[in-house]
Amino acid sequence: MKIKPGAGWKDLPAGGFINEPATALEFHTGDWRAMRPVWHEDKCIQCLQCWVYCPDSAVIVRDQKVCGPNLDYCKGCGICAKVCPPKEKAITMIREGEEG
């Protein structure tokens, strides 16, 4: 049973269950972000440290290559910027709403 947004109490599964998988995908935790990571492709050495450490699995990797944060889910914790090698500094954190 799929829960429609705005469903009334009679239309909810018993026990507050969510009877379908992977619904966290629909929960865009990126809304919570106050700081935003900006990825600089030219500086990136593809060490994948940011991907390993991101607590929200919000670093996008395609063909084994980092291609920046997924801003639908990135909460802006700044861990990726912290673990990015200091010589490269390929990720910088800016205030959400500012231009990168």
């Binding site: 009334g8 109490w9 909810l12 507050g16 269950f17």
Partner: protein, 392 residues
């Protein structure tokens, strides 16, 4: 084949558990419910049940393990008392919110402090709003019968809620009484095979249980849950009737004793009903029109059955074995009086008794009936709240 045996209250629970043969029992021993766990673990050790017995390190863990096992798809039972029930508190709400059909024996005991191991109902009353069905037992036979019925009530597809089987600590948990038992086959046929609703281990239907639930859905989920309690009374009555056909012992949500033509009556929970029935008989023999309403199902509160049984009386006394500190009257009293609002204007008095295992005597109960008769004739004196058996 019915058989008659001697059992103390806790042993009656353990024996019923053995006959039910649940998949999982996770429990931690606590006086006066220790023998439930102790005797049941003997059955496990002797290979008389197939149950996975989880010896946990606390009651909080006991209920957590029960909830986890139940979510996985197991038939789960446990037992506790007093501080143990209090330690389970946050998990109790989770068990009911997740609609877990867990059956738990609760040997009612006072809550600390000071430290006391004897009977009152403060443990169960603390859990009143936790969403568990609460069935109270009058004697050891009632414990045995109710434990078995509780399994069928909890697992009914229109219910799917946890049930507490409450019985007075020491007063009946440790009283050896004659008990008629059913055969294992009869019990297993009565409860039927366990069919879990939406178990987690049904991996073809993946699901999330107990997610974060904030402003946008929590309210709807509570409203959704509240609705199911309307189904419970009919199921408890049906199961009580079916059990009557099987055993000859019929059960309902209330037990009315000589109330039809009574003028005053007492409402109460638990083992004191047995004593009060004897008082009713002896006072009836002297010409007093007195009666008793023993409430078997306290949660959900069977309003119509209670009102129907007592609204004709001229004065009603509600006996609470719990002091709701700072409240205007104790829980049974406030529930009964609220149920009667608009139905009758007769006085409803509250009698607090038996805290921490203080004995309640026949003479004291007779005194309560006399107070009710006097109040019926002369009106309420004072606040209408009395403490019975306490030294002034």
């Amino acid at each position: 084949m019915a058989e008659t045996v001697l059992l103390e209250g806790n042993a009656a629970v353990a024996f019923a558990l053995k006959q039910v043969n649940p998949d999982v029992v996770a429990a931690y021993p606590i006086t006066p419910a220790t023998e439930v766990v102790q005797e049941f673990s003997n059955y496990v050790a002797n290979g008389e049940v197939d149950t996975e017995f989880v010896a946990v390190e606390s009651e909080h863990s006991a209920m957590s393990a029960c909830i986890g096992a139940s979510c996985a798809g197991a038939r789960v039972m446990t037992g506790t008392s007093s501080q143990g029930l209090a330690l389970m508190w946050e998990m109790l709400y989770i068990a009911s919110s997740l609609r877990r059909p867990i059956v738990m024996a609760v040997a009612n005991r006072a809550l600390s402090g000071n430290i006391n191991i004897h009977c009152d109902h403060s443990d169960a009353m603390g859990a009143r709003d936790s969403g568990w069905i609460q069935l109270f037992c009058e004697n050891t036979q009632g414990i045995y019968d109710t434990t078995i019925q509780a399994v069928r009530v909890a697992e009914n597809t229109n219910v799917q809620l946890p049930v507490m089987v409450c019985y007075d600590g020491f007063v009946i948990s440790h009283a050896v009484e004659v008990v008629d038992i059913l055969s294992d086959a009869e019990v297993r046929q009565f409860i039927g095979p366990f069919e879990p609703v939406a178990p987690l281990l049904d991996i073809r239907n993946p699901k999330t249980i107990g997610p974060l639930d904030l402003q946008d859905y929590y309210f709807e989920h509570k409203r959704n849950q509240a609705e199911v309690y309307k189904n419970v009374e009919a199921v408890v009555e049906d199961v009580g009737e079916a059990f009557g056909k099987l055993s000859g012992r019929q059960y309902g949500v209330v037990d009315a004793y000589r109330l039809e033509d009574a003028e005053v009556g007492i409402v109460l929970l638990g083992s004191t009903a047995g004593t009060a029935k004897d008082v009713v008989d002896s006072m009836r023999a002297k010409g007093h029109k007195v009666g008793l309403l023993s409430i078997r199902m306290f949660v959900p509160f069977p309003v119509d059955k209670i009102v129907g049984a007592i609204q004709h009386l001229k004065c009603i006394g509600v006996m609470d074995r719990h002091a709701a500190l700072g409240s205007y009257g104790a829980p049974l009293f406030t529930a009964v009086r609220s149920a009667l609002y608009g139905k009758t204007t007769v006085p409803v008095l509250n009698f607090m008794y038996g805290l921490g295992g203080r004995e309640i005597t026949m003479a004291e109960i007779e005194g309560i009936f006399t107070t009710l008769e006097t109040t019926a004739a002369e009106g309420v004196k004072g606040e209408g709240i009395y403490w019975i058996g306490v030294r002034e």
